[in-house]
Subunit: 246 residues, 2 copies
C-alpha cells in the first residue's frame, strides 16, 4: 500500500494475471471517496499510454465489460486502463441517494474523472500526451462533459447516447450534452445501435451531428441498446490504439 500526497489516498496491488497487473485505488474528493481500478502491463515502461474506461448504467468499475476491455488494451496494445465507479454505482451504490442522472451528477463525475486523471498522472507511469477515453451510454453522458471540461483526452470512443432518452434521465443532463458536444475536439469514434430502444435514432444522430471534432466517425450496427456486436468492441480498441500509438 502506498500513500500519495495529493488525491490518491490509497493504491494497492490486487494481483497479476496473464501479464496484466491490477491495482485498486481510492481518490479522495470533498464529495466523498471515488473507488477505482488500474490495469497496467506487468512489464511497464515509464510513459505508458492510458485509457480511461467509463462504465454504463448499472455497471461498475470492474464489471465484465470493463475487465474485458482493460485486459484487451493491456495485452494487445500495451496500453494501461483505469476505471472508477460512477455516482450511485459499484462501491458507491449504498449511499442511500436516489439514482437520477442530471447535470449535477454529470458535474460530479467530471470532477471525479479529473481528480482521477490528476492522481494517475502523478504516479509518473503514464504519458500525459497519450490519454484516451472509452465509454458509451452513461459512459458518454458523463464522459462527454469530462472530455470537454478537461482537454487532456486525445481520442475517445463514445456513443449509445443521444440528445434525449426514454430512460430516467433529467433534461438538464441532455441540455449539458447539447451545449458541450460542439466543444469536443479530439478524434472520436461514435458508436450507435440502429435499433436502440433507450435512445431514439434521430436523437442519437443529432448528438453525433453536434460533435465538434473534425475527425468524428459514426459506426452503427443493427440491434438494441445492449446488443453491440463483438466486432464493434474490437473496432473501438483499434481506434484508440491507432490514435494513441500513432
Amino acid at each position: 500500500m502506498r500513500y500519495h500526497p495529493r488525491m490518491l489516498e490509497r493504491i494497492s496491488e490486487a494481483g497479476t494475471a496473464e501479464g496484466v497487473r491490477e491495482r485498486r485505488f481510492d481518490i479522495v474528493r470533498p464529495e466523498g471517496r471515488v473507488p477505482g481500478v488500474l490495469w497496467t502491463p506487468e512489464q511497464a515502461g515509464s510513459a505508458t499510454p492510458l485509457v480511461l474506461l467509463g462504465h454504463g448504467g448499472a455497471g461498475h468499475k470492474r464489471d465484465e465489460s470493463r475487465l474485458e476491455r482493460a485486459h484487451a488494451y493491456v495485452r494487445r496494445y500495451g496500453i494501461a486502463a483505469a476505471a472508477i465507479d460512477g455516482p450511485y454505482h459499484g462501491d458507491r451504490a449504498a449511499r442511500g441517494r436516489e439514482q437520477r442522472y442530471d447535470a449535477t451528477v454529470a458535474g460530479e463525475m467530471v470532477g471525479d474523472w479529473q481528480a482521477t486523471l490528476d492522481a494517475l498522472l502523478d504516479l509518473g507511469e503514464f504519458d500525459e500526451d497519450r490519454v484516451g477515453y472509452g465509454g458509451v451510454s452513461m459512459g458518454t453522458m458523463f464522459g462527454l462533459p469530462f472530455l470537454v471540461a478537461d482537454g487532456r483526452i486525445r481520442a475517445a470512443v463514445l456513443g449509445l447516447c443521444g440528445v434525449r432518452s426514454s430512460a430516467r434521465t433529467e433534461d438538464s443532463l441532455f441540455a449539458r450534452l447539447v451545449r458541450d458536444a460542439p466543444r469536443l475536439a479530439c478524434p472520436t469514434l461514435f458508436l450507435m445501435q440502429w435499433d436502440d430502444e433507450l435512445f431514439d435514432r434521430e436523437g442519437v444522430l443529432a448528438l453525433f451531428d453536434l460533435l465538434g471534432s473534425a475527425d468524428k466517425r459514426l459506426y452503427a450496427n443493427p440491434g438494441g441498446h445492449a446488443e453491440t456486436p463483438q466486432h464493434v468492441r474490437d473496432l473501438g480498441l483499434e481506434f484508440i490504439a491507432a490514435q494513441l500509438l500513432a
Copy 2:
C-alpha cells in the same frame, strides 16, 4: 491472348508490377462488349478469393481508385480484383447515347456483372464461394441490384448512395433500389459521407435502414461526397478481407 468458349472473348496480359499481375479482358454480350481488368497475385493459387470493384460516376474500370484498391487487395490480402466499365463509362463512353442512370441501365449493369462473374469463374482460378463486391455511389446504384439478382456475393462494401439524389438520376432507378434493398442478404459495410451534397442525409440513412442483411454496418464520416477519408477505404478492404478470408 486466349479465346474462351463462353463469354470471355479475349483476355490478355497487361503486365506485372509489384507482385500484381494485370490482365485485360472483354465480355461479349448481346448488348455489346464489356471491357474489364483483372488483377491477381503474381503467384496465385487455384482458389483465390475475388472481389469485384464497381466504379463511381465519371470513373472507369481502371481509374485511380480502382487501381489503388485492386493493388491493395492483391498485395495486402492475396485477394484478386476485377473491374468493368459501366454503361457510358471508360471505353464504353463514345457510343453516343445520352448518359442517364435509370432502372434500364441498372438492369444492363446487372447482366454485365453476372456475365463477368460467370466468365471469371470459368477461368478456374477463383473460389466461387469467396467472392466480394465493393462499389459506392454509382457503384452502389448498379451494384446493389446485381448483388440481389445474383446471390453469389458473400460480402459487400456499399454506400455514398440513398433513396434519392440531387444528381441526374431517374426515379425508376431509386424505385429499384428501394425494392431490392430488403432482399440484400450478405454482410455489408455501408459507407456514408455525413455532408454528402449529392445524397441527402435522411435518404442515405433510409437506404441503410432498408438493407435486409442481418450483418450490416453503417460507417459515416464528415465531409462531402468525394471526400471519403483514407481510413475509411482501409476499413472497407479490411471488412471484405475479414469476410472472405475467415
